[in-house]
Amino acid sequence: MFFQPFGKYILLLKAVFRRPEKWSIYRKEILKEMVAIGIGSIGIVTIISVFLGAVTTVQTAFQLVSDFVPRSVIGTIVRDSSILELSPTISAIVLAGKVGSSVASQIGTMRVTEQIDALEIMGINSPGYLILPKIVGAVTMIPLLVIISIALSITGGYFAGSLSGAVTGQDYIYGITKDFIPFTFTVCMVKSVMFAFIITSISAYQGFYTSGGALEVGISSTRAVVISCIMILCADYVIAQLLL
């Protein structure tokens, strides 16, 4: 039930990291994937990040009823929750839906239309050619998206706080600059790299071992998103437990 797919997943990864046939072609594919994953996801990441920051600000302000707690704490909470949890995890879950389903359906369709067989007949290491560029593209671009997400989330919080009167701009900026622990950013980057790897490798695995037709491609795509989301949350806990 668990060990056989896990073994297949490990063997697939071993094939993915086999030496490429021609680096120049892989380089082009990696750049294509970086554009598709990075540029293609900026819109959705921007929208969710701004709202995440705004909602966190408003809800934190709502819970801060004591006059003994300075309002600048709102900025600190938005900063830390964005860096440690909201930006990496929520972005990863959204990207699992967008990038993961795309990877699984793309590779799954290639499988059922024999395009992967065609690659193998030519003597090309199909897991390497199809999956490695996606993993490298995601592992480089998703951390950058998370950095953008953090910036936008904090900005969203600033505007929400100022416009609603929950916290003044001055207090908010004081809060986000106060007692910053740089290690939280390291944790955030570790999480985003791990999540990027999980999204692309699990989705690629689901697509690569699709058999049947269009219906099965849809099933693989759904399964890729569901398993990626669960694994992201598990990894989130493990990384937090190990690093914090």
Binding site: E21, K22, I25, T109, E114, Q115
Partner: protein
Amino acid sequence: MIEIKNIHKAFGDHQVINGVSATFHPGITNLIIGGSGSGKTVLLKCMVGLHEPDQGNVVYDGRDFTRMNFEERIAIRKEIGMLFQGSALFDSMTVEENILFPLNMFTNQTAQEKLERANFCLERVNLAGKNHLHPSELSGGMKKRVGIARAIAMNPKYLFCDEPNSGLDPRTSIVIDELIAEITDEYQITTIVVTHDMNSVMGIGEKILYLYEGKKWWEGSNDEIITTKNQELNDFIFASKFMKALKK
């Protein structure tokens, strides 16, 4: 020359190929025929390494393909061209990019040389000038011809075709068959075609292997197949009213 020796292949409890042996010579069109589920495509996939046979050997000009590892097989795979049932063109690439793909991957030719080769292959399949179309813009017959062009781009020694006529009208089927036969003769390729199309059998079947329930049931040429006394083969060949009328 390709030799297959005592090939067995099962999926779970279902024995699909049961001890098939044969020799396929270059310069002639070898056909593997049989009804649906007789194991034709599985045998073809065992020969090209898409399935691993449970038992037996596939030997390419004295080189035992079944005993090779992934890296060792690459040398033989560069000598193989394959036309798939659904053409298997890469959707994201244009016709030209599809043909250039193996050349880009495995040769050190200049861009100009590769383009000339791609254009030559397209001309050979009567698709000159269609370089920048995407597979979605092509008809079924055109896709098959692009598939052939891609298959011959690397000057293969061995050409495999999996049901090249499926989904094509009779006239286009004949065009594809003739193209395969011409290329086989012109470049002295060892060509193996899996089909259940009787027009192909009669038209280009210089050597025919008939599979029945995963076993080699009959072997011969298209001249001999009409007069065979083999009951199962007769049932297969003369299943259609047209062939029955022809026999009468």
